[in-house]
Amino acid sequence: MLLSLALAVTVLFVVLRLLGNPVYALINLEATPEDIRAASAALGVDRPIFVQFADYIGGLFRGDLGTSFSSHLSVSDEILRRLNVTVPLTLISFALSVIIAIPVGFIAAWKSRTWYGTAFSAISQLGGAIPVFWVGILLVTLFALNLGVLPAGGFPRQDWADPLDALTSLTLPVLTIAIVSGSELARYVRSATLDILDRDYLRTARALGQPFSTALWRHALRNGIVPVISILAIQLATTFVGAVVVENVFALPGLGDMLIAGIRQQDFPNVQGVLLFSTVLVLVIGFLGDVLQRLLDPRLRSSLSGNRRVKASA
């Protein structure tokens, strides 16, 4: 995990610097070549790249993500402030998409031969195929512009001081993400369910006289949940990424907005900060997903302890 992180940090640092000199994002049409040189020196981007890199890595070890090239504000302060938007947005959307996906996916599989099973399956195909920003635009047109019941975008200046106000601002963005990512998740749930319904052990359980619901609950769920957890971990990470796009559509001042503005202004410290943070987050979520899977699946646990035994005897 640390290796992937180190690799990500290095690649990011180098690739960003291929984009050009960030000082050009700051100048006005009167800047002379001397001004540009002096301003480059003030940003420190006139130094050799490995000096800049060493400086950056040194900062990281001190927990310092640097200072924005454009606003000159602390990158970590800025990230922390924006988590007030992005974290609730991601978690609520994720929870909602799970709530949508599990019944929809399950019914689509279990009742696959009925008209509504087919309908659910078609809806989840469609929902997953529409680009997320397009769903956002449709919802804004309907709920904000035509019905006037929800704001078209923005987030209260006081953050969560008035929770109802904050939740209202997040309603359309949450629905947008939940529709798209819920549909994707529903497709996984559907195929996982189809897979289980065909299994011998389910048939055996029924043959032993267990009602369908008991068989499902005792055997199918425990077996079916394991692959779904790894999907959920991936999906949580995807939801986080989806939040980036949605924040732009709804003018939400979250991490996604910071990333996009940072790229546009060649604000390397801000871009590096957001991407580093996201990378760590995705790696941590993946790690937790693995741990959870092992806890739930005895087979994974025994193969781990099996390995240990082999090592110990060697």
């Binding site: 100048i27 800047a31 000159h72 003018a251």
Partner: protein
């Protein structure tokens, strides 16, 4: 069968959760902006978020819009109709030789409580002239050779040469408390508003400064809300989240506002000129006839019609009607395809040629570039459009002069002096123009200054130094109950203290 109940239950739960979320939205007031009374702040929407609160470190038009004249003040103020009037200075005296200016200062205090003194003026002027400063007007203000505080309320500035636009340029220099420490997340100006809250990426809130020396703001405060997407900005006004938007980037949304009947569309003049700029150093654009041929091949009237729906104005040179030196030159290089062909033949390019047009991918530039491509095809000139980002433009075109021709909108007021600088990106080099603009700076009277600028303006037009396609209109849209919105777009100035609701 009992087993069917569970999925139903789940579906029910999901439906409940969705409707609960939707209901939270319905019950609270979605449009908090327009429902306010005069005790609520005015909500201003803009797409120009300041990149930083301190333009010395590289700025944008956003900070001029939000702060100049609102939070910070200069010694002078540029008014909405492009006049200069005293602000923190009560006036000025010039020595006989035009090189020494004396500015008596008004009694005023900074938001921190400190009085505005001569020392602060010295600090602020030196700050903009410092080597790493990227402040606006730095180059023109570099005629300053010395600034001293003669006494706590008097500043004396010595210039290295005469500068008739010196006082005007001071209108853009903020006077900052020399004791101020953090200018990137706070401020210490003397304007009618203090910075109440700064949310990078989203908003800037201004509260009235109770000890302001001049007329008190007529509103309870201002909140600037920033949007990256123009559609999101328009939606914010349509749904009442903001009361006024500072500028439309295209007229596409106008019918929406007109149809609803709930908005006033405020049309003023701007100082933003849309240019097709040649690299006058390189062939074939070093040839005046080629440039004139291209100018005459482009139907600017049709272009303005299609981009701005007929709003805005045609200009034939750099100086817009609001500024000294304006001449009506819109037909100086007339739209005449036959003339264009003739000029092109005389220049030795009867069969046409091909060139690359570096086009910023922002705003209307790509659309205008496509239009130009179509027009020039008529005289056998093949345009290859190369889309680049704004930053790439700054690096490639502005910094390295590595281009044949480009598109750009020039926002600044009184910026004809760009044609005086042969090292500017377009590389126009004419000794007469340089001399006249120098003399205009040294002019004794405003009339003399205006006449000399007009001569230079005529010359660059005769030389088709660039193609001045049109002058943008300034379009602001406000809810019907909002009054006192500045009409014109002088650079990006947006004085908010007279905006009222109801």
């Amino acid at each position: 069968m009992s087993s069917t109940r569970r999925p139903r239950l789940l579906v029910g739960l999901a439906a409940l959760a969705i409707s609960a979320i939707a209901l939270t939205g319905c019950t609270s007031n979605a449009g908090s902006g327009t429902s306010g009374s005069d005790k609520d702040p005015i909500n201003v929407g803009s797409i120009y978020e300041p990149t930083s609160l301190d333009p010395i470190k590289g700025g944008s038009s956003g900070i001029t819009e939000a702060f100049t004249g609102n939070v910070y003040e200069g010694l002078f103020r540029i008014t909405d109709d492009a006049k200069v009037e005293p602000l923190l200075a009560t006036g000025y005296k010039v020595s006989e030789d035009g090189l020494t200016y004396t500015f008596p200062l008004r009694e005023a205090t900074f938001h921190s409580g400190d009085p505005v003194t001569a020392e602060d003026v010295v600090f602020s002027l030196n700050r903009i002239l410092s080597p790493e400063s990227l402040g606006a007007r730095k180059k023109q203000l570099s005629v300053i050779s010395n600034v001293v505080a003669t006494d706590p309320k008097t500043v004396t500035v010595t210039l290295s040469k005469k500068s008739s636009s010196f006082v005007y340029n001071l209108g853009y220099v903020w006077i900052i408390n020399h004791k101020a420490k953090d200018l990137t997340s706070t401020e210490d100006g003397s304007g009618p508003y203090t910075l109440a809250d700064y949310r990078k990426g989203s908003s800037i809130s201004l509260s009235p400064y109770t000890k302001y020396w001049g007329d008190k703001p007529k509103n309870a405060g201002i909140e600037f809300h920033y949007y990256t997407d123009p559609t999101a900005l328009n939606n914010a006004l349509l749904t009442g989240q903001v009361d006024v938007i500072t500028g439309l980037t295209s007229p596409d949304a106008l019918p929406q506002f007109e149809k609803s009947g709930k908005f006033n569309i405020i049309e003023g003049t701007s100082t933003t000129k849309e240019l097709l700029a040649f690299n006058d150093r390189v062939a074939p654009f070093d040839n005046v006839q080629v440039r004139k041929a291209i100018y005459s091949a482009i139907d600017r009237k049709k272009l303005l019609e299609s981009i701005w729906d007929g709003r805005g104005q045609l200009i034939g040179a750099m100086v817009p009607p609001s500024e000294p030196g304006y001449l009506d030159l819109k037909d100086n290089n007339p739209y005449d395809v036959d003339l264009a062909k003739k000029l092109l033949a005389e220049s030795g390019h009867a069969d046409g040629f091909s060139f690359t047009l570096d086009t910023p991918d922002s705003g209307v530039h790509p659309t205008v570039a496509e239009f130009i491509k179509g027009e020039l095809a008529k005289i056998n000139i093949d345009v290859k459009i190369n889309l680049i980002t704004d930053d790439k433009w700054a690096e490639k075109v502005y910094g390295a002069h590595d281009f044949q021709a480009t598109m750009q909108d020039h926002v600044n007021d009184r910026d004809i002096y760009f044609y005086q600088n042969p090292d500017f990106y377009w590389g126009y080099n004419n000794a007469d123009v340089q001399k006249w603009l120098d003399e205009a700076e040294a002019a004794a009277t405003p009339q003399e200054q205006s006449d000399l600028i007009a001569k230079a303006n005529k010359q660059i037009s005769d030389d088709a130094a660039s193609v001045w396609l049109y002058l943008n209109p300034q379009l602001r849209v406000a809810a019907k109950d909002i009054k006192g919105v500045p009409v014109n777009g002088m650079n990006s100035l947006f004085y908010v203290s007279k905006i009222t609701r109801g």
